[in-house]
């Protein structure tokens, strides 16, 4: 039933947290991660990567990400988001000068949007994922567009497709869809009249 490709790991529940990923702060990045030795690590409980611990030690508002992730991840509450991201950008130990990516995940079963900010540091070449969760029925989050210029447009994309509202955003408007579009398409409960559903059987009648 749940067959996977050959040589996949036999332990899908184990989060793939490899210290040797290229994004980690290893002094000399190595070619793509060597496969983990699943036998060794399966017994241990998942240990957050080094960078996560460092960040959590330096900035008290962060805590390690609870769910599985393949990249060093910290979790913050929405109120602390701007503070944490400012600290991460300005702290010389981390110096996350690039906001590589910002997007959202619709966790409809929890009633939440998970917003992820993927930071990239040009000095340590490490990557950090900052995750925060906001309620689906009141999706308001402060903007970080004053920290990174690109955040303005990344946030516009998330607003366009998820309907997340960014407080103090300089120019919050739709980016892909028309201004009068109803609904936010990447939400899991989005429906409109022109959506096709994959239903091949109906042709066979």
């Amino acid at each position: 039933m749940t067959e996977k490709s050959p040589q996949d790991n036999k332990h899908p529940e184990k989060p793939a947290q490899q210290p040797s990923t290229p994004e980690s702060s290893a002094p000399k990045p190595t070619p793509p991660p060597a496969p983990a030795k699943p036998e060794e690590q399966v017994e241990k409980p998942p240990q957050p990567p080094e960078l996560t611990l460092k960040v959590c030690a330096a900035i008290s508002e962060c805590k390690p990400y609870s769910a599985a992730s393949d990249c060093p991840t910290v979790e913050v509450i929405p109120e602390n988001l701007v503070k944490v991201l400012t600290a991460l950008r300005d702290n010389q130990d981390f110096a996350f000068s690039m906001l590589m990516d910002h997007t959202a995940v619709d966790r409809i079963e929890d009633g939440k949007f998970e917003l992820v900010y993927r930071l990239y540091s040009l000095t340590t070449l490490s990557m950090l994922l900052v995750s925060t969760k906001i309620p689906r029925d009141k999706p308001i989050i402060p903007t970080v567009s004053h920290l990174w210029d690109i955040a303005e447009w990344q946030e516009r994309e998330v607003y366009d497709l998820f309907g997340v509202l960014y407080d103090n955003h300089p120019d919050l408007r739709r980016v892909f869809l028309e201004d009068d579009w109803v609904g936010f398409p990447l939400r899991k409960d989005y429906k409109d009249d022109f959506m096709l559903t994959l239903d091949i059987d109906s042709l066979r009648e």
């Binding site: 340590t124 070449l125 096709l196 994959l198 239903d199 059987d201 042709l203 066979r204």
Partner: protein, 241 residues
């Protein structure tokens, strides 16, 4: 101001990003400061650069052998496509025109955009499922090759026909099988056992162009009626289930 000599000033050196040493080549700039050239040198180099560019273009004008134009409809006879060219999907047939496909639906499942719709029927003779109609929509096919990859029976191949233009998009829905009936494997097995071969072959029904509703990921295409042409009338819809 100043002319950039593209050949001269590129020099490799090592910088670091993070802790990684990186060999870089730095883009040339026009000489500045102490190295800066006199105005006359700049003008001379600039004017010379224009003539160098003109030399390149006249070089092509005087050598007609450099023309790369292919005169397409005229060279149709000699035009040879690469043997892996993804032109049009077709079913592999053997010398008796029996197909390999037994209608197992793997390609339909693998197809990312519902361009393949397969209907099966149960053969009255050997009670096995067999292909009734293999529909392929060229108009929504993205030529991703997923169907060929997924096919476990080696039943599909690409032909090199690339001239698929038609005037009515409904004509882009192809029936790939020539007949509805048992695949070559079933026929061979029957022949080996010498078991009701004639009867089995008699169940084959010819299939021509498809004339039914155009499938759109399982839906009927809104506003597009079924196509009625001369050669679709005889088998406009699947006969037995």
């Amino acid at each position: 101001m100043g002319y950039i000599d593209t050949k001269k000033s590129t020099k490799a050196k090592v910088t670091t990003v993070g802790n990684t040493p990186i060999n870089v080549v730095i883009a040339p700039r026009s000489p500045s400061g102490a190295d800066s050239e006199s105005l006359l040198t700049t003008i001379f180099k600039s004017v010379k650069s224009l003539f160098v560019g003109m030399k390149v273009t006249i070089g092509y004008l005087v050598r007609p052998s450099t023309v790369v134009t292919q005169q397409y409809p005229e060279n149709r006879e000699t035009l040879k496509m690469f043997d892996r060219f993804r032109g049009q999907l077709r079913l592999i047939k053997d010398e008796n025109n029996y197909m390999n496909c037994n209608g197992c639906n793997f390609c339909e499942i693998a197809c990312p955009n519902g361009s393949i719709v397969i209907t099966d029927q149960r053969n009255p003779v050997n009670e096995k499922l067999e292909l009734e109609r293999f529909l392929w929509r060229l108009d929504s096919c993205t030529f991703c090759n997923a169907c060929l990859q997924a096919c476990p029976h080696d039943a599909l191949e690409w032909s090199d026909g690339f001239e698929a233009a038609v005037y009515d998009r409904r004509l882009l829905v192809y029936t790939l099988n020539d007949y509805a009936g048992p695949p070559v494997k079933a026929i061979n097995r029957a022949k080996k056992k010498e078991d009701r071969v004639e009867e089995l072959l008699a169940t084959m029904e010819p299939r021509k162009q498809y004339g039914g509703p155009v499938p759109l990921a399982g839906r009927k295409m809104p506003g597009v009626p079924a196509l009625e042409t001369e050669n679709t009338k005889d088998n406009a819809s699947p006969k037995h289930k």
